[in-house]
């Protein structure tokens, strides 16, 4: 068996405990109520930015803990990063086109 395989076998056994998951969930619900509260206040253009920032933080929490990316090996981490960069390029190019028309 390769060294990498051994390393991985150890990694999978390091999944978080029930308590960690419940803490993450409490955080997610708290962030949801914050988004709703903030949206009720008239902040103008800041509303969208705060909503998207909070949604991004929630996404990171879900992927990192619930989807176990924190405990995945480097190959999968890089894999996800590359795909996110491709996705961001798609967004940035489209919106730069849209805003400078």
């Amino acid at each position: 068996m390769s060294e990498q395989g051994k390393e991985h076998a150890e990694h999978t056994s390091h999944h978080p405990t029930y308590g960690t998951y419940i803490m993450v969930w409490i955080g997610l619900v708290a962030l949801t109520s914050i988004t709703v509260t903030v949206a009720g206040i008239k902040l103008g253009s800041l509303t969208l930015i705060t909503a998207l920032t909070i949604a991004t933080i929630k996404t990171l929490m879900v992927t990192y803990y619930f989807m176990h990316v924190k405990f995945d090996n480097r190959v999968i981490k890089i894999f996800i990063l590359v795909c996110l960069i491709i996705f961001l390029i798609l967004w940035i190019l489209t919106f730069s086109d849209l805003s400078f028309r």
Binding site: W25, V29, K42, A51, V62, F66, N73, C83
Partner: protein
């Protein structure tokens, strides 16, 4: 796959079964990226049109029921927690607990869809549907908003149904001991799918319900 896992598989079936959990996980992630592009394209469309028709979007979103949207968000977040916990439970060989948590996830998925049903019926009742009386008197921005609303939440709802079917299959596998504490990648993959559905809703909720 580690040595003791191969040994465990051999013990039960008498012959070596080749299994690549890491490859399976990677395949699932690859599939999730195609899902990301599918919804990403729709979010791009949303972004482009919102940029152009911000007033119409705001007017249309004013009728949304923020409370139901928020309840649905909490339902999906809780179901995601249940899936994550069910994996942890199965890893500790607590089959009954794991199954119970997956049943809870199914109930959450169903509750989400029931809420969605009431929401859509309310809007359709108010004449907001293709060719409907209310839609005809709306501005372009509002019509586009509702078009995207039905498409995106509808496609998301389909994903919830698919996720429930996926988890249903996994539950049968757990019941028949095809998914065990040493062989749980299928459950993990179902979980990944369910969390993706959750993440999509995390973005849909503020974008369609919280425009002021």
């Amino acid at each position: 796959m580690s040595d003791h896992e191969i040994a465990a598989v051999q013990e039960h079936s008498g012959h070596v079964v080749h299994r690549d959990d890491e490859g399976s996980k990677m395949g699932m992630w690859l599939f999730l990226f195609t899902e990301l592009l599918l919804f990403g394209g729709l979010f791009l469309l949303y972004g482009g049109y919102r940029f152009e028709y911000s007033e119409g979007f705001k007017a249309a979103a004013a009728d949304m029921n923020v409370f139901i949207g928020m309840i649905n968000t909490v339902i999906l977040l809780t179901s995601s927690l249940a899936v994550a916990l069910s994996i942890a439970a199965l890893q500790e060989n607590k089959k009954t607990l794991s199954m119970g948590l997956l049943w809870f996830t199914q109930v959450c998925g169903l509750a989400f869809l029931v809420n969605k049903y009431f929401e859509w019926s309310h809007e359709i009742h108010n004449g907001i549907y293709p060719g409907g009386p209310a839609l005809e008197n709306m501005s372009n921005g509002e019509v586009i908003y509702f078009g995207l609303y039905y498409t995106m939440t509808g496609l998301h709802g389909l994903h919830v149904i698919v996720g429930m079917i996926f988890i249903g299959f996994v539950m049968v596998f757990i019941q028949r001991d095809k998914i065990t504490s040493t062989n749980y990648q299928k459950l993990e993959n179902a979980g990944l799918y369910w969390h993706l559905v959750d993440i999509i809703w995390i973005f849909l909720f503020p974008l369609f319900y919280l425009l002021h």
